[in-house]
């Protein structure tokens, strides 16, 4: 089996385990009642997304499979929580559409990590191209759900997410851990731009639901 497939399979087996373990995440969404609640929740989830992703890729770079599997599972639990939040606002259909779309970009980061670890330049380029293309899809998804979110603006923010996180992954590959953590912090901080835009647009769309 190719290294990419091994890593992918490890990620997704971990995802399954943690999706079961975190089956109660819908309850968390029940606490989101105001715009402020929503903004805090989305900020926490998206920052956590970056930190767990960087944790997973960091373990992967060191060949620490047990730790990687746990981090990948926690990352997927975070994805499920994000999907639950989307479902709270836009319904189960949107939740079900969001989750595979979101997981897809995580797969591209896995591809990037694997290619970087194996010094596969073409693989790295392909993963970056996939992430850039994904940004367009994600922008279209959020714009379809909420016209207050311009697709191009969202796509630009997602591309920046790809740039900041792949930079952290590169530092991990170079075993430059101070730089890796510095870039991880920057990548996590960047997510606030997405979180605030998303939460603000949802409040604008549903003032009666989150306006207080």
């Amino acid at each position: 089996m190719r290294p990419t497939n091994i890593l992918r399979n490890t990620v997704f087996s971990g995802m399954t385990a943690f999706a079961i373990a975190f089956g109660g995440t819908a309850a968390q969404a029940d606490h989101i009642k105001t715009g402020a609640d929503l903004r805090v929740a989305v900020n926490l989830l998206l920052a956590e997304h970056v930190n767990l992703a960087a944790s997973a890729t960091g373990w992967a770079m060191q060949g620490m499979n047990t730790q990687f599997t746990a981090a990948a599972g926690a990352l997927d639990a975070n994805s499920v929580s994000l999907a639950n939040a989307i479902g709270l606002v836009y319904g189960d259909g949107a939740k079900d559409a969001f989750l595979p779309l979101w997981r897809k970009h995580i797969g591209f980061f896995v591809d990037y990590t694997t290619a970087t670890a194996t010094q596969d330049g073409a693989g790295r380029s392909a993963a970056v191209d996939a992430l850039m293309g994904y940004a367009e899809d994600f922008g279209a998804f959020l714009n379809a759900a909420n016209p207050n979110l311009p697709a191009d603006a969202v796509a630009s923010l997602v591309r920046e997410h790809a740039v900041t996180l792949t930079a952290a992954i590169d530092a991990q590959a170079n075993q430059d851990w101070p730089m890796a953590y510095e870039l991880q912090a920057k990548a996590a901080a960047h997510m606030q731009m997405i979180s605030d835009a998303l939460a603000g647009a949802i409040v604008m769309q549903f003032p009666e639901k989150f306006g207080s």
Binding site: A94, A97, P100, L101, D137, N143, A144, A145, A151
Partner: protein, 120 residues
């Protein structure tokens, strides 16, 4: 099976939708039944549909990105169809001439799936 492409134009269909809500099926000028599926927020709505031989299914893309309705190979139905990717405000139609169960998906977003059951 026939495949047709349209641009979405405001007209009677839109007017009816506004007045009465989503219209599941209408009759075209020839009296044939046309079932409508909206593609919105990366979902086929409805995602399952029961029709009869000779009916037409019309997909309308409301998302700001191109989607397709593409039959999975190896299905029960005897016919394959692929609308190809089409953009926001565009419509694609397929007329089903063979009974069967047709599972389909979007080639760009394979997690988007739907099923059409065609009875004789």
């Amino acid at each position: 099976m026939t495949l047709r492409t349209h641009s979405l134009l405001p007209g009677l269909l839109i007017t009816v939708s506004i007045l009465t809500g989503p219209v599941a099926a209408i009759a075209d000028a020839s009296g044939n039944t046309v079932h409508q599926i909206e593609i919105s927020v990366f979902q086929f709505q409805p995602d399952t549909l029961d029709i009869t031989v000779g009916d037409t299914v019309r997909w309308t893309n409301r998302d700001g990105i191109r989607h397709s309705a593409t039959a999975e190979s190896g299905g029960v139905g005897g016919q394959a169809f692929d609308t190809g990717l089409f953009g926001k405000g565009e419509m694609q139609e397929v007329t089903f001439s063979e009974p069967g169960t047709y599972s389909y998906f979007c080639t760009r977003h394979p997690s988007m799936t739907g099923m059409i059951t065609v009875s004789g």
